[in-house]
Assembly symmetry: C2
Homo-oligomer: 882 residues x 2
C-alpha cells in the first residue's frame, strides 16, 4: 500500500517539511515529495491497485461535503452526512468535450444564425416562460392564503355574531351593546384559556365557541402546513438561506425539485392562513428559484415530465441551472414585493461573486416579465383604463403630505440613523434568541418528525391563544376617524379594514385587534399610511397599543421561525418594525406638539420597518430598493439608505444576519464573499490548508483499479498524474464520468499492452498512437445530468478487470491549479470568484501535492491549518526577515 | 543569441506543433518545447546575456500595451504608443511581501483592535471624505455653470431690452409690440447669419447686437472650455468611456490626476454655459472618480501635496485605487442625478467582473454621503423644516394625475415597448453618425491642437447661430396657461421659466425658445411635467414645435460630442428623447380625443427620454434606477424597464453603445464582460493565443544581464525560470521591482559563485543557503507607487555588471498560470474575472511556453490566432473524433 502515495514521507505535512528548509521553502518541499513519492516508487513497480494517500492524523477531511463530495447513495459511504455537494460550474475540458462543442457549432458554422445565437434565443424564451409561470404561481399562492384566511374569519365571525344574536334575545335594547357585553364575558372565558372548553355557563357559549373555532382553524391550518413539510422536509422555513447557498455553489439535495415547490407553495398558504407570524415572501422567492430550475431543466421526477425530446434540453448543467435560478430568485422577489429591480439586486447581493453583465440583464428581463404578468393579472378589469396604484405597490403608496414639501426635514435624518441603530439592536437580539432556540430545537426536536409536528401544534395553540387574548386585554374602544372626505381611497379602504373587536362596528375599533385580526400586509399598510388624527393620546394607533402589540408579536415571531412550516421572515420583521417605528414617531411628538408634518408617523413606521428588517437580515442595497418599490415614493431613498446602513453596522457588532446564522447552524460549507479575517490577519499558504488525501489515477488505467478506487472512497474528482514524468498533473477525471465509462464498458483489450511494460516504461508511451480512442461521446456522459450512474450501478465482471481504460480523451487537461506557495487570500479569491469545485495544489514541477475543496477554505479549517503550521511558519519568518 | 530561447524550434507556433502529434496534442507540443529549448541549451552554456524569444513573423505584439506594458518614458521604446498599461490588482506574493504583511499584522496581533480593523476604519473614513468632497465639487460646478449662464443671458437680455427701448421711442404705442416688431427685424438680420455683422441699418441694431453678443458669449465660453482641454487633453469628452476602461483594469495615463479634475470641472461649467448641447453629468461622474483617487492616494503632483506622513497612505496600490474609484464613480452619479442607488448600480454595471459585496457597501456608503451632503447644502435654508421635493429630484417629481390611479394603463405598456424600439433606432443612428464623424475627426483634426481649437470655435458659432435662428423661424406666439391656481409649485415655476422670445412677456411665449434659451435641466422638466392645456393644436408644446426642436437639436448633439470640450451625453439624449416621446404622446392623442389621462404627455416624454438615452448608452438596470430616482415616482418602474430593455435590444442589432464605440476608436484594449463570440463559436486554446515572445530571467542573475534586458524591451513582467530543472516556472518579477533593485544596488559580490559553476551546475544550488538574503524591503519598493523608478534612472557601473542579483526573495512564486490546452473561454474568464495583468501559459511540466496579456484576448487577436491555427486545428478534430 505504500506504492503510489503522494508526499510519500509518512505523516509529514507541508509546513513541517518547509520548516527545516531554506527560505525557498516550497521548492524544497516539492523536491521532497518528488523524491519520496514517485521516483522512489518507480522501481517498486505497480503492486498497489491505486494510490492511497497518507492519512494525516489531524485531518479534518472525510466527513462528506465539498469537492470531495460524498454521494449519499454510495454504498461505501455511510449515510451520516447531509449529502451536500458543490456545483460544478466549469465544464470538464476534455477532448471529447471539445469534439462535442465543435460538432454543435459545426452545423451552423458560417451562417448568420449561429448555434450560439440559437441558444441565446432559447435562453431568453425560457427566461420569459419562467417569469410568467412564477407570476401565476405567486398569484395562486396569494389567492389560496386569502381564501383560507377568509374562510377562517368568516366562520369565526359567524359564531361571534351568533353569540351576539343569542345575547340580544335577553337584552333587546341594542344588538351592538349586547354584542359588546357578550364579548366582555368572552373575555373571561378566553382568559380561562384552553382548559375552559370542557364546561362553562351557557350565556357565553357563542364567544367561547368563536375562540375554540379560532384556535381550531388556526391549528388545523398549521397542522396541514406542517404535514407538507413532513412530506418534503426541505420546504420548511423561508428558503432564503438555501437560495444563498445555492447561488454560493452548493447543491442542496431536493432543493429545486417540483415536489418542494408544491409543498412550499401550498404549505405557506396554510401557514399564513394559520395566523402564525410568518410571511409568504421568502417562500415565494424560493418558489421562483424552483420554477426557474424546473423550467430550464425540463425534467421532473415528481411529475415524470422530461422534455429531452425538445430543443430546450441543452441547459442541463450546473452553470446554466445556477444562472436560471438566479433569474428565478429575482422573479420571486419581484412577485413577492412587486419589486423587480429589488429582485435583481437581491440576486446580485446574494450571488455577487460570479455575477456577469449578461446575467444581470436576464434577471432583469425575468423580473420584468413576472411583474408585467402580475400587473396584467391583477388589473384584468382595468386593462384599458388607469390601473389602481394600490395594486402596484405591495405596501401601499406613500405620498407627499403637503404638496411639494418632503415628508421629513434634513435634521430628522439624524433620528433615522438612531432608529436604524435601535433596529440593528432589536435585530441582533432577535437573531441571538432565534439562534439559541434553533440550537435547542436541533438537539431536542428536529431529529423526530413526530416531535416536529407536535411542536407546530403546540406553538400554533399558543399563538392563537395569545392572538385572541391580546385584543381582549386591550380594554379600549377607539373612535373611527370621522372627517375622511379628503382622504385618499387607500386610506379609506384602510379605515374599513379596522376591526371592531369588542366595539361598535362602524363607529369604533379595537386598535390591537386591527393589527392582529387582519392579514399582515394590511396591518403593515395601516401602520405605514394612517395619518394621525386628534391629539397625542388618541392617535389612530396609540403608543400603548403599538407597544402592547410589538412586544408579544416579535417574541412570537422569534419563537415561530424554525418550526416545521414554510415561513418567511420579511413580513413579521416589517410588521413589528413598523409598530416600533411608529412608536418612535410618537415619542418625538412629545417633543413637538404641533402635530404637523414633523415626525410623520407613517414615515417613522417605514423607517422602523426597514431598521428591524435590516437588523435581522443585514441586506442593504437590495432591501432599500425593495422597500422603495413596495412603497412607491422615491423621496425616501436617502432616509432608507441611512437607516439600513446604520442597522447593518450596529447589528454586525453583535452577530451575523439571521440567514447566515441558519446557514452555519445547518453546517453548510458556505463561502463568504470575502476572505475570512483569520486569513487576512495571518499568513497562510495554499500548501497549509490543502488536503493531502489525494487519490490519483494514471492516464491509462486498468478498469479494475478504477472500479476499486471508486468503491473505496467518495471523492468527486480524481487527479490524473503522469507516472512517467515523475507524477506531474496530467488532468482530472470526475466521478460521474468514470462511472459512466465503467458502466458503458469503454475498455480496450487487456492485451493492448503488457503489465510490466506499463509499469516500467510508462503506460502512455507504450500505447502511443494506438491509444484506445474515445468510445463514449461527451453528450452520452452528460445526458444523465443531474443523476449520473453511480458506482453501485456498475457491474464489474472479472474478465473486465484487466481491461485498459484510456482516460486521456476524457481528462480535463487544464484544471485550475494553484502553486503551494500561493497565499490563502489569492487561493480563496480564485476559488470563490470562479465558483470552483476543487483546486489542485501543485509544486513548481506541476506535481500534485494536494487538493483544496470548499471545506478547506471555511474559517474553521483555516484556523485549524494555522494552528497546525504556525510554529514552523513563524520560525521561518523570523529567521529570514525580522 | 540562440541560447535560452523559449520554444527553440524557430518560428513554429503552438498549433503547428500540435498538428502532427497524437490526440494529446498539448503533451507532445510541450515535450517539443522542452527538448528544443532548455535541454538543448544546457550544454551550450551561458553565452547569451538574456533569453531572447523568437520573433514570430505573424506576431501582433510589440506595439505597446497590455501586460507587456510599454512605459512611455522608457528611452528605448519610441513614444508612438498611447502609453496605456494594465492595472496590477494582485500583489506580487514574494517572500519580502509576506514578510511585510507579517510585520504589519504583527504589531497588533492578538489585540481586538487588529491592523485589519484599523485599515477598514481608515477606508470608511476616506470613503466618507470622498463623498463629502464630491458633493462640494458638484455644487461648485453647478453654481459656476449657472452663474456663467445667467451672466450670458443677462447681458443678451439687456441688449434685447435696449433695442426694445430704442424702437419704442419711434413707436410709443406699446413697448411690447415694439419689441416684437424689432425682433421681427432681428429675425431678418439673423437669417443673414454671421456675415451680417459688418453693416446693417441702425433700426435693428439692438436685436442684431443681441445676436452678436449671444454668439460672442457662447463662443468665448466654448473657447475657454477648449483651452482647459488643450492644457489637459484627457479632460475632453464625458469621461464615462474612460471610467469604464479604468474599472476594466486599464490604467489610462493622467486620467485620475487632480489637474484633470480641475480642467474638467471648470471646463464643463464653461461648455455648458456656452449653450452647446452637452451635459455636465458625465464629467461629474469623472470628477467623482478623480476625487476618490486623489483622496485615497493622498499624493498629487499638481499641488505638490503628499500625505505619506499620515496614517492614510497605505492604500497606494492598484487594487485599492480601483475600489476607491468605483466608489467615487458611484458618488459622481449620485451627485449628477441625485441618484445614489443608481450610482452604485452604475459602478456595478460597468465593473461587474470583480465586484465584491464589501465594495458594494462602500460604494453605497459613498453615494449616500454625497447625497446627504448635497441635500444638506441645497436645503441649508430649510434644515429644520420640510425640504422642497424639487430639490430632491433632479428632473422634477412625477405625481399621480388622478388620485390613486396610475398615469398609464396596462395596455399602454405595448406603446412603451414601441417607443423603446424607436428610441433604440434613434440611438443606433446617433451612434453610427457619431462614429463616422469621430473617425473623420481623428484623421483630419485631432492630431493638431490648433485644428481642434478652431473646430470648437466653428462649431460653437454654428450652434449659437442655429440656436438663435430656430426660435426666430418658429413664427408663433403661444398663450401662457391661465388657470393654474390648482397647479403644483413645480408647474408654476416651470411656467415662469417659459421664454417670451418675440412675444408678449407675461402673456405669451415662444415654444422653441423656451426649450433652447433655458438651461437643459429646466427644458427637460418642462417636457416632463407640463400638463396639456387646450385641444391638440394648442398644447403647451405643440407637435410642430417639438419636431422642429428635436431634429436640429439631436443633429447638433451628434456633431458636438467629440470636440475638444468637456461634454456629457446624458442631458442631450434625455432632452431630445423627451421631445421625441412627447411627440409620440401627441400622435396617440389623435387616436383618442378625450384628452384625459390616456397617453399622458409627461409620461411619454419620460419614456422617450429613457428610450433615446438607452438606445445611445445601452445601459439598462442602472439607467432605470437613475431615472426613477431623478423623477421620484416608482409607478414608472415597469414602463421604464420595458422601454430601456427594448431600446437596448433594438440598438444592439445595429451597433454597440456609444461609449463602447469610443473605447474601440481610441484603440484601448478593453475586455468585454463576456467571452467574444468568435471564441464561443470556435475552438481556440490558450496555446494558440499566447504570445511566445517571452523574456525570462534566472532566479539568480547577473545585474548586467538584468540591466540589458530591461533596456532592450518594455515588458512589464518577466517570468523567472529554473534552468536547473529544465526551465520550469519559478515565479515572476515585475519591471518596477527589478528597476528598484538595480537602483538600490541590491547585489551580492560577483565572487559569491563562479560563472562556470553557475551555468553548469545551476546557480541556485551552488548558492544554496548562502543566498543573498533580501537587501530591499517590500515597502521600500512600493513606496514609489505609482511612479516607480525606470531603467533610465538606473546608473549601471561597469564594476556592478558581474554582481549577482538574487531574485528569489522578490519573485512572485505563485503567479496565475494556465495550461496551454485550456480553452479560451476558461482563460478569458480567469483573466477577466480576476482582473489579471498577465497570465503565464505553461505545459504539463510547468515550463513556460508563452504569456497572455490583455491584448491577446481582444477579439481581433483571437480572430488572428484562429486564422493562424485553424487548419491544423480542424484536421486535428476531424481525425480524432468525427
Amino acid at each position: 500500500m505504500e506504492g503510489y502515495q503522494m508526499n510519500g514521507g509518512g505523516n509529514h505535512n507541508y509546513s513541517q517539511v518547509g520548516n527545516g528548509g531554506s527560505g525557498i521553502r516550497s521548492r524544497h518541499a516539492s523536491g521532497d515529495g518528488d523524491d519520496d513519492g514517485y521516483n522512489g516508487t518507480k522501481g517498486v513497480g505497480y503492486t498497489t491497485p491505486f494510490y492511497l494517500a497518507n492519512q494525516a492524523p489531524t485531518s479534518l477531511r472525510g466527513d462528506g461535503y465539498g469537492g470531495g463530495g460524498v454521494l449519499k447513495y454510495s454504498p461505501l459511504a455511510p449515510n451520516k452526512d447531509n449529502g451536500i455537494q458543490s456545483h460544478n460550474y466549469e465544464p470538464d475540458e476534455s477532448e471529447v468535450w471539445r469534439a462535442y462543442v465543435a460538432q454543435v457549432h459545426f452545423s451552423n458554422r458560417g451562417h448568420w444564425w449561429t448555434t450560439g445565437k440559437k441558444r441565446a434565443l432559447k435562453r431568453w424564451v425560457l427566461t420569459f416562460v419562467i417569469g410568467v409561470i412564477q407570476a401565476v404561481v405567486a398569484t395562486l399562492c396569494n389567492l389560496a392564503s386569502k381564501k383560507l384566511t377568509e374562510r377562517k374569519f368568516d366562520h369565526v365571525y359567524d359564531l361571534l355574531s351568533e353569540s351576539v344574536h343569542h345575547s340580544s334575545i335577553s337584552s333587546e335594547a341594542g344588538g351592538v351593546s349586547g354584542a359588546a357585553d357578550d364579548l366582555f364575558q368572552t373575555d373571561d372565558a378566553a382568559k380561562g384559556g384552553t382548559d375552559s372548553e370542557a364546561g362553562g355557563s351557557h350565556s357565553w357559549f357563542g364567544g367561547s365557541s368563536a375562540f375554540v373555532m379560532f384556535v381550531f382553524y388556526q391549528t388545523i391550518y398549521a397542522a396541514i402546513a406542517s404535514l407538507f413539510v413532513m412530506w418534503e422536509p426541505v420546504s420548511a422555513g423561508s428558503g432564503i438561506p438555501e437560495i444563498k447557498c445555492f447561488l454560493n455553489g452548493i447543491d442542496l439535495p431536493r432543493f429545486v425539485r417540483v415536489k418542494t415547490l408544491f409543498c412550499k407553495a401550498v404549505g405557506v398558504a396554510f401557514s399564513v392562513a394559520a395566523g402564525l407570524p410568518v410571511g409568504k415572501e421568502g417562500p415565494m422567492v424560493h418558489s421562483g428559484a424552483v420554477v426557474a430550475a424546473g423550467i430550464s431543466q425540463g425534467k421532473t421526477k415528481f411529475w415524470g415530465v422530461d422534455t429531452s425530446f425538445s430543443k430546450f434540453s441543452d441547459f442541463r448543467n450546473d452553470r446554466e441551472k445556477r444562472d436560471f435560478v438566479a433569474c428565478g430568485a429575482a422573479a420571486g422577489v419581484a412577485s413577492a414585493f412587486g419589486a423587480p429591480i429589488g429582485g435583481v439586486l437581491f440576486s446580485l447581493e446574494e450571488g455577487a461573486s460570479y455575477w456577469s453583465t449578461k446575467l444581470t440583464w436576464r434577471a432583469f428581463f425575468c423580473a420584468m416579465t413576472t411583474i408585467s404578468t402580475l400587473f396584467a393579472i391583477r388589473n384584468v378589469d382595468s386593462w384599458w383604463g388607469q390601473a389602481n396604484v394600490e395594486k402596484l405597490f405591495s405596501f401601499g403608496e406613500f405620498n407627499s403630505l403637503s404638496g411639494d414639501a418632503s415628508n421629513f426635514s434634513i435634521w430628522e435624518l439624524t433620528f433615522f440613523v438612531i432608529i436604524g441603530c435601535l433596529g440593528g439592536l432589536i435585530g441582533a437580539v432577535f437573531n441571538a434568541a432565534n439562534e439559541h432556540l434553533t440550537i435547542w430545537r436541533m438537539k431536542r426536536i428536529n431529529f423526530s418528525p413526530t416531535r416536529r409536528f407536535l411542536e407546530v401544534i403546540v406553538i400554533s395553540v399558543i399563538v392563537s391563544t395569545v392572538s385572541f387574548v391580546m385584543p381582549l386585554l386591550w380594554n379600549r374602544c377607539t373612535q373611527l376617524p370621522t372627517d375622511i372626505q379628503d382622504w385618499s381611497n387607500q386610506e379609506k379602504n384602510l379605515v374599513e379594514a379596522l376591526v371592531p373587536f369588542r366595539c361598535q362596528p362602524g363607529k369604533e375599533y379595537n386598535e390591537v385587534a386591527s393589527l392582529i385580526f387582519t392579514e399582515a400586509d394590511v396591518a403593515i399598510k395601516q401602520l405605514f399610511h394612517f395619518r394621525e388624527v386628534g391629539v397625542d393620546d388618541t392617535s389612530t394607533f396609540s403608543s400603548g397599543a403599538l407597544f402592547f402589540f410589538f412586544i408579544p408579536y416579535i417574541t412570537l415571531a422569534t419563537l415561530v421561525y424554525g418550526i416545521a412550516v414554510p415561513s418567511g421572515l420579511f413580513v413579521p420583521s416589517l410588521l413589528s418594525g413598523a409598530a416600533f417605528g411608529r412608536l418612535c414617531g410618537h415619542l418625538l411628538h412629545k417633543l413637538d406638539h404641533t402635530n404637523g408634518t414633523f415626525a410623520d408617523s407613517g414615515t417613522y413606521a417605514l423607517m422602523g420597518a426597514a431598521a428591524v428588517l435590516g437588523g435581522m437580515a443585514r441586506m442593504t442595497i437590495s432591501l432599500t430598493v425593495i422597500l422603495l418599490e413596495a412603497t412607491g415614493d422615491m423621496q425616501y431613498v436617502l432616509p432608507l439608505m441611512l437607516t439600513l446602513m446604520s442597522a447593518r453596522f450596529t447589528g454586525n457588532v453583535f452577530n451575523e444576519g439571521l440567514y447566515d446564522i441558519h446557514i452555519h447552524l445547518k453546517n453548510i460549507p458556505f463561502l463568504e464573499p470575502e476572505v475570512p479575517p483569520i486569513a487576512e490577519r495571518n499568513e497562510i499558504v495554499a500548501g497549509q490548508v490543502m488536503s493531502t488525501e489525494v487519490k490519483c489515477l494514471r492516464p491509462v488505467e486498468r478498469a479494475g483499479v478504477v472500479y476499486d478506487l471508486l468503491r473505496s472512497c467518495s471523492h468527486g474528482t480524481f487527479p490524473i498524474v503522469d507516472t512517467e514524468s515523475g507524477g506531474t498533473l496530467y488532468g482530472t477525471a470526475s466521478r460521474s464520468m468514470l462511472c459512466t465509462l465503467l458502466q458503458r464498458r469503454a475498455f480496450g483489450s487487456p492485451d493492448v499492452l503488457n503489465d510490466e511494460v506499463a509499469s516500467h516504461e510508462g503506460v502512455c508511451e507504450s500505447l502511443g498512437p494506438r491509444r484506445l480512442s474515445p468510445l463514449v461521446q461527451w453528450d452520452t456522459i452528460e445526458r444523465a445530468y443531474p443523476r449520473y450512474p453511480t458506482i453501485g450501478d456498475v457491474e464489474m465482471r472479472d474478465g473486465d478487470r484487466n481491461c485498459w481504460l484510456d482516460l486521456r480523451p476524457y481528462a480535463n487537461t487544464a484544471p485550475y491549479t494553484v502553486n503551494e506557495t500561493a497565499s490563502i487570500q489569492r487561493t480563496y479569491r480564485l476559488f470563490r470568484t470562479l465558483g470552483l469545485r476543487f483546486l489542485c495544489v501543485v509544486n513548481h514541477n506541476n506535481q500534485v501535492v494536494g487538493i483544496i475543496t470548499r471545506k478547506d477554505l471555511l474559517p474553521e479549517s483555516l484556523t485549524h491549518s494555522l494552528l497546525r503550521g504556525r510554529n514552523a511558519h513563524a520560525n521561518d519568518e523570523v529567521t529570514n526577515f525580522l
